[in-house]
Protein backbone atom coordinates (compact mmCIF):
# COMPACT_ATOMS: atom_id res chain seq x y z
CA UNK A 1 0.00 0.00 0.00
CA UNK A 2 1.31 3.42 -0.90
CA UNK A 3 1.39 6.22 1.65
CA UNK A 4 -0.72 8.67 -0.35
CA UNK A 5 -3.35 7.59 -2.81
CA UNK A 6 -5.36 10.02 -4.93
CA UNK A 7 -8.31 8.29 -6.58
CA UNK A 8 -10.31 9.99 -9.32
CA UNK A 9 -9.88 13.37 -7.63
CA UNK A 10 -11.97 16.23 -9.03
CA UNK A 11 -11.92 19.93 -8.27
CA UNK A 12 -14.51 22.36 -9.42
CA UNK A 13 -15.14 25.86 -8.10
CA UNK A 14 -18.71 27.07 -7.89
CA UNK A 15 -20.28 27.32 -11.33
CA UNK A 16 -16.92 27.12 -13.06
CA UNK A 17 -15.18 24.58 -15.26
CA UNK A 18 -13.42 21.68 -13.64
CA UNK A 19 -9.83 22.53 -12.70
CA UNK A 20 -8.92 18.91 -12.11
CA UNK A 21 -10.75 15.91 -13.49
CA UNK A 22 -10.42 12.26 -12.44
CA UNK A 23 -6.88 12.60 -11.18
CA UNK A 24 -5.14 9.37 -10.10
CA UNK A 25 -1.76 9.18 -8.41
CA UNK A 26 0.01 7.05 -5.83
CA UNK A 27 2.97 8.31 -3.82
CA UNK A 28 5.33 5.95 -2.02
CA UNK A 29 6.60 6.54 1.48
CA UNK A 30 9.88 8.45 1.56
CA UNK A 31 9.63 9.69 -2.03
CA UNK A 32 10.45 13.21 -3.10
CA UNK A 33 7.74 13.92 -5.64
CA UNK A 34 7.67 17.12 -7.65
CA UNK A 35 4.51 18.47 -9.29
CA UNK A 36 5.79 20.42 -12.26
CA UNK A 37 3.78 22.46 -14.70
CA UNK A 38 3.05 25.94 -16.03
CA UNK A 39 1.02 28.31 -13.86
CA UNK A 40 -2.66 27.48 -13.79
CA UNK A 41 -2.07 23.78 -14.41
CA UNK A 42 -3.69 22.82 -11.11
CA UNK A 43 -0.56 21.74 -9.26
CA UNK A 44 -1.06 24.07 -6.29
CA UNK A 45 -4.74 23.16 -6.11
CA UNK A 46 -3.81 19.49 -5.85
CA UNK A 47 -1.32 20.22 -3.10
CA UNK A 48 -3.85 22.30 -1.19
CA UNK A 49 -6.42 19.53 -1.48
CA UNK A 50 -3.92 17.08 0.02
CA UNK A 51 -3.26 19.61 2.80
CA UNK A 52 -6.96 20.04 3.46
CA UNK A 53 -6.98 23.75 2.59
CA UNK A 54 -9.27 23.15 -0.39
CA UNK A 55 -12.27 20.86 -0.47
CA UNK A 56 -12.12 17.83 -2.72
CA UNK A 57 -15.13 18.11 -5.04
CA UNK A 58 -15.19 14.40 -5.86
CA UNK A 59 -12.91 11.38 -5.52
CA UNK A 60 -10.94 9.99 -2.62
CA UNK A 61 -7.75 10.98 -0.87
CA UNK A 62 -6.22 8.20 1.22
CA UNK A 63 -3.25 8.49 3.54
CA UNK A 64 -2.06 5.21 5.02
CA UNK A 65 -5.18 3.72 3.54
CA UNK A 66 -7.48 6.02 5.52
CA UNK A 67 -9.92 8.36 3.88
CA UNK A 68 -8.94 12.01 4.47
CA UNK A 69 -11.56 13.92 2.46
CA UNK A 70 -13.46 15.38 5.40
CA UNK A 71 -10.64 15.66 7.92
CA UNK A 72 -9.61 19.22 8.81
CA UNK A 73 -5.97 20.09 8.02
CA UNK A 74 -4.76 19.76 11.57
CA UNK A 75 -5.82 16.12 11.77
CA UNK A 76 -3.90 15.03 8.67
CA UNK A 77 -0.42 15.09 10.22
CA UNK A 78 0.91 17.14 7.36
CA UNK A 79 3.33 20.07 7.45
CA UNK A 80 3.30 22.69 4.74
CA UNK A 81 5.79 25.28 3.53
CA UNK A 82 4.31 28.26 1.70
CA UNK A 83 5.63 30.34 -1.15
CA UNK A 84 5.56 33.56 0.88
CA UNK A 85 6.87 31.70 3.98
CA UNK A 86 3.72 32.60 5.99
CA UNK A 87 5.69 33.33 9.14
CA UNK A 88 3.90 35.10 11.98
CA UNK A 89 5.46 38.57 11.89
CA UNK A 90 4.84 39.18 15.59
CA UNK A 91 6.66 36.10 16.83
CA UNK A 92 10.39 35.44 17.11
CA UNK A 93 11.97 32.68 15.05
CA UNK A 94 11.88 30.39 18.06
CA UNK A 95 8.20 31.08 18.75
CA UNK A 96 7.32 30.64 15.08
CA UNK A 97 8.98 27.24 14.95
CA UNK A 98 7.48 26.02 18.20
CA UNK A 99 3.99 27.47 17.75
CA UNK A 100 2.39 24.42 16.15
CA UNK A 101 3.66 22.21 18.98
CA UNK A 102 2.50 24.69 21.60
CA UNK A 103 -1.00 24.61 20.12
CA UNK A 104 -0.95 20.83 20.43
CA UNK A 105 -0.22 21.20 24.11
CA UNK A 106 3.30 19.72 23.97
CA UNK A 107 5.50 20.25 27.02
CA UNK A 108 7.58 23.44 26.91
CA UNK A 109 10.89 21.67 27.53
CA UNK A 110 10.31 19.27 24.67
CA UNK A 111 9.36 22.12 22.33
CA UNK A 112 12.54 23.96 23.23
CA UNK A 113 14.62 20.84 22.57
CA UNK A 114 13.04 20.19 19.20
CA UNK A 115 13.34 23.81 18.11
CA UNK A 116 17.00 23.89 19.14
CA UNK A 117 17.69 20.72 17.19
CA UNK A 118 15.91 21.97 14.08
CA UNK A 119 17.69 25.30 14.33
CA UNK A 120 21.03 23.48 14.40
CA UNK A 121 20.22 21.53 11.26
CA UNK A 122 19.15 24.71 9.47
CA UNK A 123 21.92 26.99 10.77
CA UNK A 124 19.39 29.18 12.54
CA UNK A 125 20.80 28.95 16.05
CA UNK A 126 21.99 32.57 16.06
CA UNK A 127 18.66 33.86 14.81
CA UNK A 128 16.26 32.28 17.29
CA UNK A 129 15.50 35.61 19.01
CA UNK A 130 15.10 37.58 15.80
CA UNK A 131 11.80 38.48 14.15
CA UNK A 132 10.97 37.42 10.59
CA UNK A 133 11.00 41.05 9.41
CA UNK A 134 14.70 41.25 10.23
CA UNK A 135 15.69 38.14 8.26
CA UNK A 136 16.65 37.73 4.61
CA UNK A 137 14.38 35.77 2.29
CA UNK A 138 16.58 32.68 2.49
CA UNK A 139 16.61 32.78 6.28
CA UNK A 140 12.85 33.22 6.39
CA UNK A 141 12.41 30.20 4.18
CA UNK A 142 14.69 28.22 6.49
CA UNK A 143 12.50 29.21 9.43
CA UNK A 144 9.46 28.03 7.48
CA UNK A 145 11.24 24.73 6.84
CA UNK A 146 12.19 24.55 10.51
CA UNK A 147 8.60 25.05 11.50
CA UNK A 148 7.67 22.09 9.30
CA UNK A 149 10.51 19.94 10.63
CA UNK A 150 9.71 20.31 14.33
CA UNK A 151 6.23 18.99 13.68
CA UNK A 152 7.81 15.65 12.65
CA UNK A 153 4.98 15.07 10.25
CA UNK A 154 4.79 12.10 7.98
CA UNK A 155 4.26 14.27 4.94
CA UNK A 156 5.79 17.57 3.90
CA UNK A 157 4.10 19.74 1.32
CA UNK A 158 6.03 22.58 -0.28
CA UNK A 159 4.29 25.14 -2.47
CA UNK A 160 6.87 26.89 -4.66
CA UNK A 161 9.03 27.55 -1.62
CA UNK A 162 11.97 29.01 -3.52
CA UNK A 163 10.24 31.22 -6.04
CA UNK A 164 10.66 34.40 -3.97
CA UNK A 165 14.44 33.95 -3.71
CA UNK A 166 17.15 35.14 -6.08
CA UNK A 167 18.87 32.68 -8.42
CA UNK A 168 21.99 32.08 -6.35
CA UNK A 169 20.09 31.48 -3.13
CA UNK A 170 17.72 29.13 -4.94
CA UNK A 171 20.65 26.90 -5.90
CA UNK A 172 21.85 26.82 -2.28
CA UNK A 173 18.38 26.11 -0.89
CA UNK A 174 17.73 23.34 -3.45
CA UNK A 175 20.70 21.48 -2.11
CA UNK A 176 19.68 22.12 1.49
CA UNK A 177 16.16 20.83 0.96
CA UNK A 178 17.41 17.66 -0.75
CA UNK A 179 19.90 17.01 2.07
CA UNK A 180 17.18 17.67 4.60
CA UNK A 181 14.85 15.27 2.83
CA UNK A 182 17.49 12.53 2.96
CA UNK A 183 18.06 13.15 6.68
CA UNK A 184 14.40 13.20 7.59
CA UNK A 185 13.41 10.39 5.21
CA UNK A 186 9.99 11.99 5.11
CA UNK A 187 7.62 11.90 2.19
CA UNK A 188 7.70 15.21 0.36
CA UNK A 189 5.51 16.71 -2.33
CA UNK A 190 7.03 19.76 -3.89
CA UNK A 191 5.19 22.08 -6.28
CA UNK A 192 7.10 24.21 -8.74
CA UNK A 193 7.00 25.70 -12.21
CA UNK A 194 10.79 25.69 -12.37
CA UNK A 195 12.10 22.64 -14.22
CA UNK A 196 15.61 23.08 -12.82
CA UNK A 197 14.20 22.52 -9.33
CA UNK A 198 12.26 19.53 -10.54
CA UNK A 199 15.20 17.96 -12.36
CA UNK A 200 17.70 18.48 -9.53
CA UNK A 201 15.53 17.54 -6.56
CA UNK A 202 12.93 14.99 -7.53
CA UNK A 203 12.87 11.25 -7.16
CA UNK A 204 9.82 11.38 -9.34
CA UNK A 205 8.39 14.22 -11.40
CA UNK A 206 4.69 14.52 -12.12
CA UNK A 207 4.27 16.84 -15.09
CA UNK A 208 0.88 18.51 -15.23
CA UNK A 209 -0.96 20.60 -17.75
CA UNK A 210 -4.59 21.76 -17.56
CA UNK A 211 -5.13 19.49 -14.57
CA UNK A 212 -4.03 16.36 -16.40
CA UNK A 213 -0.94 14.25 -15.81
CA UNK A 214 1.31 14.48 -18.84
CA UNK A 215 4.00 12.15 -17.59
CA UNK A 216 5.27 10.57 -14.40
CA UNK A 217 8.87 9.52 -14.17
CA UNK A 218 12.35 10.10 -12.87
CA UNK A 219 14.07 13.28 -14.06
CA UNK A 220 16.08 11.18 -16.50
CA UNK A 221 13.01 9.49 -17.96
CA UNK A 222 11.03 12.66 -18.53
CA UNK A 223 14.04 14.30 -20.11
CA UNK A 224 15.13 11.48 -22.38
CA UNK A 225 11.82 9.88 -23.20
CA UNK A 226 9.16 12.58 -23.09
CA UNK A 227 5.77 10.94 -23.43
CA UNK A 228 4.25 13.69 -25.53
CA UNK A 229 5.07 16.92 -27.31
CA UNK A 230 4.01 19.04 -24.32
CA UNK A 231 6.61 17.41 -22.09
CA UNK A 232 9.19 17.53 -24.88
CA UNK A 233 8.78 21.25 -25.28
CA UNK A 234 8.25 22.01 -21.57
CA UNK A 235 11.33 20.22 -20.23
CA UNK A 236 14.79 21.34 -21.31
CA UNK A 237 16.31 24.76 -21.79
CA UNK A 238 16.23 25.38 -24.69
CA UNK A 239 13.44 22.89 -25.43
CA UNK A 240 13.53 19.96 -27.83
CA UNK A 241 13.43 20.82 -31.54
CA UNK A 242 10.25 19.54 -33.15
CA UNK A 243 9.87 19.25 -36.94
CA UNK A 244 6.92 17.57 -38.66
CA UNK A 245 7.98 14.84 -41.09
CA UNK A 246 6.73 14.51 -44.65
CA UNK A 247 5.44 11.20 -45.83
CA UNK A 248 5.61 9.96 -49.46
CA UNK A 249 4.86 6.40 -50.48
CA UNK A 250 5.47 4.97 -47.00
CA UNK A 251 8.79 6.78 -46.64
CA UNK A 252 9.50 9.59 -44.15
CA UNK A 253 11.39 12.71 -45.12
CA UNK A 254 13.00 15.28 -42.82
CA UNK A 255 12.92 18.17 -45.25
CA UNK A 256 14.82 16.69 -48.22
CA UNK A 257 16.48 13.84 -46.43
CA UNK A 258 14.91 10.44 -46.20
CA UNK A 259 14.79 8.88 -42.74
CA UNK A 260 15.02 5.14 -42.68
CA UNK A 261 13.05 3.74 -39.78
CA UNK A 262 13.56 0.26 -38.33
CA UNK A 263 9.87 -0.05 -37.59
CA UNK A 264 7.02 -0.12 -40.00
CA UNK A 265 4.56 2.58 -38.95
CA UNK A 266 2.35 2.50 -41.98
CA UNK A 267 1.51 6.07 -42.91
CA UNK A 268 1.14 7.47 -39.37
CA UNK A 269 1.92 11.21 -39.51
CA UNK A 270 4.99 11.89 -37.34
CA UNK A 271 6.86 14.73 -35.69
CA UNK A 272 10.60 14.42 -35.39
CA UNK A 273 12.24 15.58 -32.12
CA UNK A 274 15.86 16.14 -31.24
CA UNK A 275 17.40 17.95 -28.24
CA UNK A 276 19.80 20.82 -29.05
CA UNK A 277 22.73 18.97 -27.43
CA UNK A 278 22.11 15.94 -29.68
CA UNK A 279 22.34 18.04 -32.85
CA UNK A 280 25.60 19.41 -34.28
CA UNK A 281 27.03 21.28 -37.21
CA UNK A 282 27.86 18.97 -40.10
CA UNK A 283 28.05 20.81 -43.40
CA UNK A 284 27.95 17.51 -45.28
CA UNK A 285 24.51 16.70 -43.83
CA UNK A 286 21.50 17.16 -46.11
CA UNK A 287 19.50 19.03 -43.46
CA UNK A 288 20.19 22.75 -43.83
CA UNK A 289 19.59 25.56 -41.31
CA UNK A 290 19.80 29.33 -41.81
CA UNK A 291 21.48 30.95 -38.77
CA UNK A 292 19.47 33.75 -37.15
CA UNK A 293 21.11 34.27 -33.80
CA UNK A 294 24.05 32.99 -31.78
CA UNK A 295 23.78 32.77 -28.01
CA UNK A 296 27.14 32.45 -26.28
CA UNK A 297 26.75 30.84 -22.86
CA UNK A 298 30.45 30.77 -21.99
CA UNK A 299 31.04 27.01 -21.84
CA UNK A 300 29.26 26.47 -25.13
CA UNK A 301 27.02 28.17 -27.62
CA UNK A 302 23.50 27.78 -28.84
CA UNK A 303 23.11 28.38 -32.54
CA UNK A 304 19.54 29.35 -33.34
CA UNK A 305 18.18 29.24 -36.84
CA UNK A 306 15.38 28.27 -39.18
CA UNK A 307 15.00 24.95 -40.94
CA UNK A 308 12.70 25.74 -43.82
CA UNK A 309 10.86 28.27 -41.63
CA UNK A 310 10.70 26.10 -38.46
CA UNK A 311 12.78 27.25 -35.48
CA UNK A 312 15.71 25.01 -34.66
CA UNK A 313 18.46 25.23 -32.02
CA UNK A 314 21.66 23.26 -31.69
CA UNK A 315 24.44 23.30 -29.14
CA UNK A 316 27.87 23.86 -30.55
CA UNK A 317 31.11 23.24 -28.64
CA UNK A 318 33.48 24.21 -31.46
CA UNK A 319 35.33 27.46 -31.96
CA UNK A 320 34.05 27.98 -35.47
CA UNK A 321 32.61 31.30 -36.47
CA UNK A 322 29.07 31.47 -37.76
CA UNK A 323 27.46 34.45 -39.37
CA UNK A 324 23.85 35.42 -39.26
CA UNK A 325 22.13 34.32 -42.50
CA UNK A 326 24.84 31.71 -43.10
CA UNK A 327 23.52 28.32 -44.17
CA UNK A 328 24.92 25.40 -42.24
CA UNK A 329 24.30 21.67 -42.33
CA UNK A 330 22.82 19.96 -39.29
CA UNK A 331 23.61 16.43 -38.16
CA UNK A 332 22.24 14.55 -35.13
CA UNK A 333 22.83 11.48 -32.99
CA UNK A 334 20.48 8.82 -34.29
CA UNK A 335 20.02 7.10 -30.90
CA UNK A 336 18.67 10.27 -29.29
CA UNK A 337 15.82 10.93 -31.69
CA UNK A 338 12.21 11.01 -30.49
CA UNK A 339 9.05 10.64 -32.54
CA UNK A 340 5.55 11.86 -31.81
CA UNK A 341 2.23 11.36 -33.47
CA UNK A 342 1.21 14.56 -35.25
CA UNK A 343 -2.42 14.24 -34.24
CA UNK A 344 -2.40 12.85 -30.70
CA UNK A 345 1.02 14.43 -29.90
CA UNK A 346 1.91 11.25 -27.99
CA UNK A 347 5.28 9.57 -28.20
CA UNK A 348 5.72 6.92 -30.91
CA UNK A 349 8.32 4.24 -30.26
CA UNK A 350 10.47 4.13 -33.37
CA UNK A 351 14.18 3.96 -34.09
CA UNK A 352 16.43 5.01 -36.94
CA UNK A 353 18.75 2.59 -38.67
CA UNK A 354 21.89 4.65 -38.32
Amino acid sequence: MDLIELKRINKQYENKEKVIEDFDLNIKKGDFTVFLGPSGCGKSTLLRMIAGLEKISAGELLINGELQNDLPPKERNIAMVFQNYALYPHMSVEKNMGFGLKMRGIDKQIIKQKVTDAAKILNLTDYLDKFPGNLSGGQQQRVALGRAIVRESEIYLMDEPLSNLDAKLRAVMREEIVTLHKQMAATTIYVTHDQTEAMTMADRIVILNHGDIQQIGTPKEVYQRPQNMFVASFIGIPPMNLIPLKNHDGKYYLENAELSLKDDLGNQPLVFGIRPEDAFVDNAAPLKMKVTYIEDMGADRYVHGLVNGTKFTLRDGSNNDYQVDQEIGVGFTAQQVSFFDQVSTNRVEANLWK
Partner: protein
Protein backbone atom coordinates in the same frame (compact mmCIF):
# COMPACT_ATOMS: atom_id res chain seq x y z
CA UNK B 1 18.95 64.11 -6.62
CA UNK B 2 17.11 66.73 -4.69
CA UNK B 3 17.55 70.19 -5.98
CA UNK B 4 19.01 73.01 -4.01
CA UNK B 5 16.27 75.62 -3.99
CA UNK B 6 16.89 79.19 -5.10
CA UNK B 7 15.77 82.14 -2.94
CA UNK B 8 12.87 82.82 -5.24
CA UNK B 9 11.70 79.22 -5.10
CA UNK B 10 11.98 79.17 -1.31
CA UNK B 11 9.86 82.30 -1.12
CA UNK B 12 7.21 80.83 -3.39
CA UNK B 13 7.15 77.25 -2.11
CA UNK B 14 7.98 77.65 1.56
CA UNK B 15 7.84 81.17 2.99
CA UNK B 16 4.51 82.39 1.58
CA UNK B 17 2.57 79.16 2.13
CA UNK B 18 3.91 78.98 5.67
CA UNK B 19 2.53 82.40 6.65
CA UNK B 20 -0.92 81.10 7.68
CA UNK B 21 0.66 78.23 9.59
CA UNK B 22 2.94 80.60 11.47
CA UNK B 23 0.28 83.25 12.15
CA UNK B 24 -2.53 80.93 13.23
CA UNK B 25 -0.65 77.94 14.67
CA UNK B 26 2.95 78.57 15.70
CA UNK B 27 2.57 82.11 17.08
CA UNK B 28 -0.70 81.32 18.92
CA UNK B 29 0.90 78.29 20.56
CA UNK B 30 3.75 80.44 21.83
CA UNK B 31 1.43 83.28 22.83
CA UNK B 32 -0.80 80.82 24.69
CA UNK B 33 2.17 79.66 26.69
CA UNK B 34 3.10 83.26 27.43
CA UNK B 35 -0.45 84.29 28.36
CA UNK B 36 -0.68 81.38 30.76
CA UNK B 37 1.84 83.22 32.96
CA UNK B 38 -0.29 86.42 33.06
CA UNK B 39 -3.55 87.52 34.65
CA UNK B 40 -4.98 89.07 31.50
CA UNK B 41 -8.78 89.29 31.45
CA UNK B 42 -9.28 90.17 27.75
CA UNK B 43 -10.97 93.51 28.44
CA UNK B 44 -8.34 95.51 30.30
CA UNK B 45 -5.35 96.66 28.24
CA UNK B 46 -2.85 95.91 31.00
CA UNK B 47 -1.89 92.76 32.78
CA UNK B 48 0.75 91.42 35.15
CA UNK B 49 3.01 88.45 35.14
CA UNK B 50 1.93 86.03 37.80
CA UNK B 51 4.46 83.25 37.26
CA UNK B 52 3.03 79.77 37.62
CA UNK B 53 0.15 80.96 39.76
CA UNK B 54 -2.41 80.12 37.05
CA UNK B 55 -1.17 76.56 37.02
CA UNK B 56 -1.07 76.09 40.80
CA UNK B 57 -4.53 77.60 41.14
CA UNK B 58 -5.81 75.46 38.33
CA UNK B 59 -4.45 72.24 39.77
CA UNK B 60 -5.84 73.15 43.19
CA UNK B 61 -9.30 74.06 41.92
CA UNK B 62 -12.12 71.63 42.29
CA UNK B 63 -13.43 72.50 38.82
CA UNK B 64 -10.20 71.35 37.23
CA UNK B 65 -9.95 68.17 39.27
CA UNK B 66 -13.51 67.25 38.46
CA UNK B 67 -13.11 68.07 34.78
CA UNK B 68 -9.96 65.97 34.72
CA UNK B 69 -11.78 63.04 36.28
CA UNK B 70 -14.72 63.49 33.89
CA UNK B 71 -12.39 63.61 30.91
CA UNK B 72 -10.61 60.44 32.01
CA UNK B 73 -13.93 58.66 32.62
CA UNK B 74 -15.43 59.88 29.36
CA UNK B 75 -12.32 58.99 27.38
CA UNK B 76 -11.90 55.53 28.87
CA UNK B 77 -15.51 54.46 28.49
CA UNK B 78 -15.71 55.84 24.97
CA UNK B 79 -12.41 54.57 23.59
CA UNK B 80 -12.62 50.99 24.89
CA UNK B 81 -16.05 50.26 23.38
CA UNK B 82 -15.12 52.04 20.14
CA UNK B 83 -12.08 49.78 19.76
CA UNK B 84 -13.81 46.56 20.79
CA UNK B 85 -16.95 47.26 18.80
CA UNK B 86 -14.97 48.47 15.80
CA UNK B 87 -12.81 45.34 15.84
CA UNK B 88 -15.76 42.97 16.08
CA UNK B 89 -17.62 44.80 13.32
CA UNK B 90 -14.53 44.54 11.12
CA UNK B 91 -14.15 40.81 11.77
CA UNK B 92 -17.81 40.40 10.81
CA UNK B 93 -17.50 42.63 7.74
CA UNK B 94 -14.48 40.73 6.46
CA UNK B 95 -16.29 37.42 6.80
CA UNK B 96 -19.13 38.67 4.60
CA UNK B 97 -18.83 37.71 0.99
CA UNK B 98 -21.27 40.13 -0.55
CA UNK B 99 -23.03 43.44 0.12
CA UNK B 100 -20.30 44.48 2.39
CA UNK B 101 -19.69 47.88 0.82
CA UNK B 102 -23.30 48.79 1.49
CA UNK B 103 -23.05 47.91 5.18
CA UNK B 104 -19.70 49.68 5.37
CA UNK B 105 -21.40 52.80 4.04
CA UNK B 106 -24.10 52.58 6.71
CA UNK B 107 -21.53 52.15 9.49
CA UNK B 108 -19.48 55.07 8.26
CA UNK B 109 -22.38 57.51 7.84
CA UNK B 110 -22.27 58.87 11.45
CA UNK B 111 -18.72 60.07 10.90
CA UNK B 112 -19.79 62.19 7.93
CA UNK B 113 -22.96 63.84 9.18
CA UNK B 114 -22.55 67.01 11.25
CA UNK B 115 -22.30 66.20 14.93
CA UNK B 116 -24.10 69.39 15.96
CA UNK B 117 -27.19 68.47 13.97
CA UNK B 118 -27.09 64.84 14.97
CA UNK B 119 -26.61 65.74 18.64
CA UNK B 120 -29.80 67.78 18.47
CA UNK B 121 -31.52 64.68 17.13
CA UNK B 122 -29.93 62.52 19.81
CA UNK B 123 -31.14 64.97 22.43
CA UNK B 124 -34.70 64.18 21.39
CA UNK B 125 -34.03 60.47 21.04
CA UNK B 126 -32.84 60.51 24.65
CA UNK B 127 -35.67 62.77 25.82
CA UNK B 128 -36.92 61.09 28.97
CA UNK B 129 -40.62 61.66 28.21
CA UNK B 130 -41.12 61.42 24.45
CA UNK B 131 -37.81 60.01 23.22
CA UNK B 132 -37.94 56.63 21.45
CA UNK B 133 -35.31 55.10 23.74
CA UNK B 134 -37.37 55.47 26.88
CA UNK B 135 -40.50 54.49 24.93
CA UNK B 136 -38.84 51.20 24.05
CA UNK B 137 -37.59 50.75 27.60
CA UNK B 138 -41.12 51.40 28.77
CA UNK B 139 -42.54 48.72 26.50
CA UNK B 140 -39.89 46.31 27.79
CA UNK B 141 -40.71 47.28 31.41
CA UNK B 142 -37.15 48.38 32.01
CA UNK B 143 -36.13 51.40 34.12
CA UNK B 144 -36.30 54.66 32.19
CA UNK B 145 -33.33 56.86 33.11
CA UNK B 146 -33.52 60.65 33.15
CA UNK B 147 -30.86 60.65 30.43
CA UNK B 148 -29.99 64.33 30.30
CA UNK B 149 -30.77 65.44 33.82
CA UNK B 150 -29.21 62.68 35.91
CA UNK B 151 -25.42 63.32 36.25
CA UNK B 152 -24.28 59.70 35.60
CA UNK B 153 -26.82 59.11 32.84
CA UNK B 154 -25.88 62.41 31.19
CA UNK B 155 -22.27 61.33 30.96
CA UNK B 156 -23.34 58.05 29.43
CA UNK B 157 -25.51 59.87 26.91
CA UNK B 158 -22.42 61.76 25.76
CA UNK B 159 -20.43 58.52 25.71
CA UNK B 160 -23.05 56.68 23.64
CA UNK B 161 -23.19 59.48 21.06
CA UNK B 162 -19.38 59.47 20.88
CA UNK B 163 -19.27 55.70 20.38
CA UNK B 164 -21.99 55.98 17.76
CA UNK B 165 -20.00 58.54 15.84
CA UNK B 166 -16.67 56.73 15.85
CA UNK B 167 -17.22 52.94 16.02
CA UNK B 168 -17.92 52.54 12.30
CA UNK B 169 -14.93 54.67 11.49
CA UNK B 170 -12.71 52.45 13.64
CA UNK B 171 -14.23 49.38 11.98
CA UNK B 172 -13.07 50.65 8.60
CA UNK B 173 -9.48 50.82 9.78
CA UNK B 174 -9.62 47.38 11.35
CA UNK B 175 -11.30 45.96 8.29
CA UNK B 176 -8.46 47.31 6.16
CA UNK B 177 -5.82 45.93 8.51
CA UNK B 178 -7.49 42.51 8.57
CA UNK B 179 -7.72 42.41 4.80
CA UNK B 180 -3.99 43.00 4.57
CA UNK B 181 -3.09 39.89 6.57
CA UNK B 182 -1.90 37.29 4.04
CA UNK B 183 -4.32 34.37 3.78
CA UNK B 184 -1.43 31.91 4.06
CA UNK B 185 -1.06 32.91 7.72
CA UNK B 186 -4.56 31.61 8.40
CA UNK B 187 -3.82 28.48 6.40
CA UNK B 188 -0.72 27.85 8.49
CA UNK B 189 -2.80 28.24 11.62
CA UNK B 190 -5.30 25.79 10.13
CA UNK B 191 -2.51 23.29 9.58
CA UNK B 192 -1.23 23.87 13.07
CA UNK B 193 -4.64 23.14 14.45
CA UNK B 194 -5.74 26.47 15.93
CA UNK B 195 -9.34 26.84 16.98
CA UNK B 196 -11.22 29.96 15.92
CA UNK B 197 -10.63 31.77 19.18
CA UNK B 198 -6.96 30.81 19.16
CA UNK B 199 -6.75 32.33 15.68
CA UNK B 200 -8.27 35.57 16.97
CA UNK B 201 -6.08 35.63 20.07
CA UNK B 202 -2.73 34.51 18.65
CA UNK B 203 -2.94 35.75 15.08
CA UNK B 204 -5.62 38.40 14.49
CA UNK B 205 -5.20 40.59 17.55
CA UNK B 206 -1.38 40.71 17.50
CA UNK B 207 -1.34 41.41 13.77
CA UNK B 208 -3.74 44.34 13.98
CA UNK B 209 -2.03 45.77 17.06
CA UNK B 210 -0.36 48.63 15.13
CA UNK B 211 -3.83 49.67 13.93
CA UNK B 212 -5.24 49.27 17.43
CA UNK B 213 -2.51 51.48 18.85
CA UNK B 214 -3.11 54.11 16.19
CA UNK B 215 -6.85 54.07 16.78
CA UNK B 216 -6.50 54.24 20.56
CA UNK B 217 -4.30 57.34 20.31
CA UNK B 218 -6.46 59.06 17.72
CA UNK B 219 -9.61 58.28 19.68
CA UNK B 220 -8.11 59.59 22.94
CA UNK B 221 -7.20 62.81 21.14
CA UNK B 222 -10.71 62.94 19.69
CA UNK B 223 -12.20 62.55 23.17
CA UNK B 224 -9.89 65.20 24.61
CA UNK B 225 -11.26 67.60 22.00
CA UNK B 226 -14.89 66.51 22.16
CA UNK B 227 -17.10 69.57 22.28
CA UNK B 228 -20.07 69.52 19.89
CA UNK B 229 -22.05 66.72 21.55
CA UNK B 230 -21.45 68.22 25.00
CA UNK B 231 -22.51 71.73 24.11
CA UNK B 232 -25.72 70.53 22.45
CA UNK B 233 -26.76 67.78 24.83
CA UNK B 234 -25.74 68.95 28.31
CA UNK B 235 -23.68 72.14 28.12
CA UNK B 236 -21.36 70.58 30.66
CA UNK B 237 -24.16 69.91 33.12
CA UNK B 238 -26.07 68.82 35.05
CA UNK B 239 -24.03 70.31 37.89
CA UNK B 240 -20.82 70.16 35.87
CA UNK B 241 -21.06 66.39 35.52
CA UNK B 242 -20.18 66.42 31.83
CA UNK B 243 -17.67 69.26 31.93
CA UNK B 244 -14.49 67.95 30.34
CA UNK B 245 -11.17 69.79 30.26
CA UNK B 246 -11.92 71.28 26.86
CA UNK B 247 -15.37 72.38 27.92
CA UNK B 248 -13.90 73.96 31.06
CA UNK B 249 -11.38 75.76 28.85
CA UNK B 250 -14.23 77.16 26.80
CA UNK B 251 -16.03 78.32 29.92
CA UNK B 252 -12.94 79.90 31.46
CA UNK B 253 -11.83 81.61 28.27
CA UNK B 254 -14.98 82.60 26.48
CA UNK B 255 -17.54 82.88 29.28
CA UNK B 256 -15.50 84.13 32.23
CA UNK B 257 -12.68 85.75 30.25
CA UNK B 258 -10.02 84.43 32.62
CA UNK B 259 -7.50 84.28 29.83
CA UNK B 260 -4.60 83.35 32.09
CA UNK B 261 -6.31 80.30 33.59
CA UNK B 262 -7.84 79.33 30.24
CA UNK B 263 -4.53 79.38 28.40
CA UNK B 264 -2.89 77.52 31.28
CA UNK B 265 -5.57 74.86 30.92
CA UNK B 266 -5.07 74.74 27.16
CA UNK B 267 -1.35 74.20 27.75
CA UNK B 268 -2.21 71.31 30.07
CA UNK B 269 -4.40 69.75 27.35
CA UNK B 270 -1.60 70.32 24.87
CA UNK B 271 0.94 68.61 27.12
CA UNK B 272 -1.33 65.60 27.58
CA UNK B 273 -1.78 65.39 23.81
CA UNK B 274 1.94 65.76 23.21
CA UNK B 275 2.74 62.97 25.64
CA UNK B 276 0.23 60.72 23.88
CA UNK B 277 1.63 61.62 20.49
CA UNK B 278 5.13 60.85 21.70
CA UNK B 279 4.07 57.51 23.16
CA UNK B 280 2.31 56.59 19.94
CA UNK B 281 5.34 57.39 17.80
CA UNK B 282 7.64 55.44 20.10
CA UNK B 283 5.34 52.46 20.33
CA UNK B 284 4.53 52.30 16.66
CA UNK B 285 8.26 52.10 15.93
CA UNK B 286 8.56 49.21 18.34
CA UNK B 287 5.47 47.35 17.24
CA UNK B 288 5.64 47.52 13.49
CA UNK B 289 6.62 44.17 12.14
CA UNK B 290 6.24 44.87 8.49
Amino acid sequence: MEMKASKRQLLLFVVIPLIPLVVFWIIPLIVSLWLSFTDWNYISPTFDYVGIKNYTQLFASQDFQQAFAHTAYFTFFSVVPIIVFGFLLAVGLNKLKRSYKFIQALLFAPWVTPLIGMSIVWGWIFNSKVGPINQILHILHLPEPQWLTNPTAAMWTIIIVTIWKNAGWAALFFSDALAKIPSSLFEVSDMEGLSWWQKIWYVLIPLVSPTTLFLVIVMILECLQAYDQITVLTQGGPAGSTTTLLYLYYQLGFKQFQMGSATALSIVILVISAILAYISIRMSRKHTYY
